[in-house]
Amino acid sequence: MKNAKLLVTLLYILFLMLPIYWLLNMSFKTTNEILGTFSLWPMNFTLDNYIKIFTDPTWYNGYLNSITYVVINTVISVTVALPAAYAFSRYRFLGDKHLFFWLLTNRMAPPAVFALPFFQLYSATGLFDTHIAVALAHCLFNIPLAVWILEGFMSGVPKELDETAYLDGYSFWRFFVKIFIPTIAAGIGVAAFFCFMYSWVELLLAKTLTSVAAKPIAATMTRTASTAGYELGLLAAAGALTIIPGAFVIYFVRNYIAKGFALGRV
C-alpha cells in the first residue's frame, strides 16, 4: 500500500518533469545538434542561447516588461481587494450579494471575448503599449480572484478581534493596518501569489495590448517561433527562463500552498 502510493507520486512527478527536462536539454544544444542528432543530453554543451537572450535587448526587455506589469498588477489587485473583501466579510449592505456574484462572473469571461474591445478601449485612452495597460487589463480577472481569496481568509478571523480593538480605542484604519492586516498575512500572501501567477501566465490580453515598448517575453517567443525560422534552442532557453520567476515565487509560499490552493475555504 505504502509502496503503491510512493509509486503513484513518483510517476506523477516524473510525468511533470519530463517536458521540463527536455526543454532544458534543448536549451543547451546548438541548432545543428538539435536538427542533426537525437540525444538525451547535450553533446556539445553550449550557453549561446542564454547569452543571446541576455545580450539582445528585444529578448531581455521582454522579461523586464513582463515582470513590470505583473508586479504593478499584483500591487493594484491586492490593494484594491483588501478593503472590498473586508466589506464583504464583515458587513451587509445594499446589493452585496449581487455585487459579489457580478464580480465572480468577470472571472468567467473568456479573455478572447474581450481582446478586441480592450484593444479599442486602451487605444482610445492612450494607454496602448504601456505596462499600466496590461496591469489594468489583468485586474479584470485578478481583482475578483483576490477578493474571493481574501474574503475566505477574513471570514475565518472572528469578529471579536475587530470589536476588542475598537474597545481598546483603536480607530478603524489603525486597527486595519496594525492588527487586521498582520492577522491575515498568510491570506494576502496567497492572494498575491495567485495574482502573480495569473498575470504571469496570461498572454492573449498582454499581447493584444502591447506592440513594442511593453511587449511581454511570452509574445517575443511567439514571434521567434513564426518569423526567425525554427530556432528551437533559443526558444527552449527563453522558455526555461520563464519558469524561474514562478519557481522563485512558489518557493516563498511553499508552506502556504496547500492551504492557499483551497482559497482559505476548506
Binding site: 481587494a81 462572473t105 469571461a109 474581450f114 481582446a115
Partner: protein
C-alpha cells in the same frame, strides 16, 4: 458569521468596483454594440438587430467548434479530477518531502501558457522531441502536426500535464483538513480503505473538489494559448476550440458583428453552466 448592516461599506468597495467596471462594462458594451450592427469601415454602423446571433447560432462552424469545446472540456475533467484525487491521496501527509512534492507539482501552473504550448511542441515533435521519438519508437505512427487523433491526444495530455496539479493541490488541502480522529474512528469501526475514501475523504473533499471542477471547467472552456501555440487549431480545424475560432473571426477576418455575437453567446454559455453548477452546489450544501 452574522454581519452588521452598514451602508458605508460601499465606500470600501468603490475603488474595486470602478477598476473592474472599467475593464468589464465598457468592453462588454462595445461587444453588445457590435453584435447588433454592421459596419463597412469608416465608423459607419447599421442596425442589424438579431441577425448576427441567428447567423452564429445556425452556422455549422460554430456548432462544430462548440462540440469540440465540450468534448475537450469533458475529456480533461474526466481525466484530471480522478487523477488529481489519486495523486493527492498518494502524497505523503507530513515530513520533509511534502514541500518538495508541492513545489514540483505547482511548477507547471506558473509557466506562461504559450511556453507550455512551445514546451510541448518541442517535447512531442516526431523527429526531435522525446515524446515523439518514444511513441514512434514503439511502432505507432505519431505526428501531431498531421494526424487529427495525435493532435487531439497531445492537446489533452498537455492540458492534463498543465492543470492536474491544481486539482491535486486543492484535493490535498481538503485531505489535510480531516482531523486524525476520523481515521482512528474508521480503524476502530473496521472500515476498509475504500470505505474510508467513500465516507470520510470524499465528503470532506467535496467543497474543494467543487472549486476544482468549477475552475477547470471555466479555464478549459476558455482555453486559447496552449493549443494555439501547439497545433494552431489544426490539422484542419480539428483542435479549433471556441476561443481560437473566435479570435480567428474577430482579429483574423475582422468580422466584428458575428464575432461579437459569438462572444456574447460564448460568455452566456459559461455563465449558464457555472450558474447551474453553483445552484446545485448550494442546494446540496443547504441539505
Amino acid at each position: 458569521m452574522n454581519k452588521t448592516a452598514n451602508s458605508k461599506a460601499w465606500l470600501f468597495v468603490i475603488p474595486m468596483v470602478v477598476l473592474v467596471a472599467f475593464n468589464a462594462l465598457i468592453p462588454l458594451m462595445t461587444v453588445v454594440n457590435y453584435s447588433v450592427q454592421e459596419t463597412f469601415g469608416d465608423n459607419v454602423f447599421f442596425w442589424e438587430g438579431m441577425k448576427w446571433f441567428e447567423q452564429v447560432l445556425r452556422s455549422d462552424r460554430f456548432h462544430e467548434s462548440f462540440l469540440r469545446q465540450f468534448a475537450f472540456t469533458g475529456m480533461i475533467l474526466l481525466i484530471e479530477i480522478p487523477l488529481g484525487i489519486l495523486v493527492a491521496l498518494s502524497m505523503p501527509r507530513k515530513g520533509p518531502w511534502v514541500s518538495v512534492c508541492l513545489v514540483l507539482m505547482a511548477l507547471p501552473l506558473l509557466i506562461p501558457w504559450n511556453v507550455v504550448g512551445a514546451m510541448w511542441n518541442i517535447f512531442a515533435l516526431p523527429d526531435t522531441g522525446l515524446l515523439g521519438r518514444m511513441i514512434n519508437g514503439l511502432g505507432i505512427h505519431y505526428n501531431f502536426t498531421q494526424g487529427p487523433v495525435a493532435a487531439w491526444a497531445t492537446t489533452v495530455v498537455m492540458d492534463v500535464w498543465h492543470w492536474t496539479s491544481l486539482v491535486v493541490l486543492l484535493a490535498y488541502a481538503g485531505l489535510c483538513s480531516i482531523p486524525e480522529a476520523y481515521y482512528q474512528a474508521a480503524k476502530i469501526d473496521g472500515a476498509s480503505a475504500w470505505a474510508v475514501f467513500r465516507h470520510i475523504q470524499l465528503p470532506k473533499m467535496k467543497r474543494v473538489l467543487t472549486i476544482a471542477i468549477l475552475l477547470r471547467f471555466m479555464d478549459s472552456f476558455m482555453i486559447y494559448t496552449e493549443p494555439f501555440v501547439l497545433t494552431g487549431g489544426g490539422p484542419g480545424n480539428t483542435t479549433t476550440f471556441l476561443s481560437i475560432d473566435l479570435v480567428k473571426i474577430a482579429l483574423g477576418q475582422f468580422d466584428l458583428g458575428p464575432a461579437a455575437a459569438m462572444s456574447l453567446i460564448y460568455f452566456l454559455i459559461v455563465l449558464l453552466v457555472c450558474w447551474i453548477f453553483y445552484t446545485l452546489m448550494m442546494r446540496g450544501e443547504a441539505k
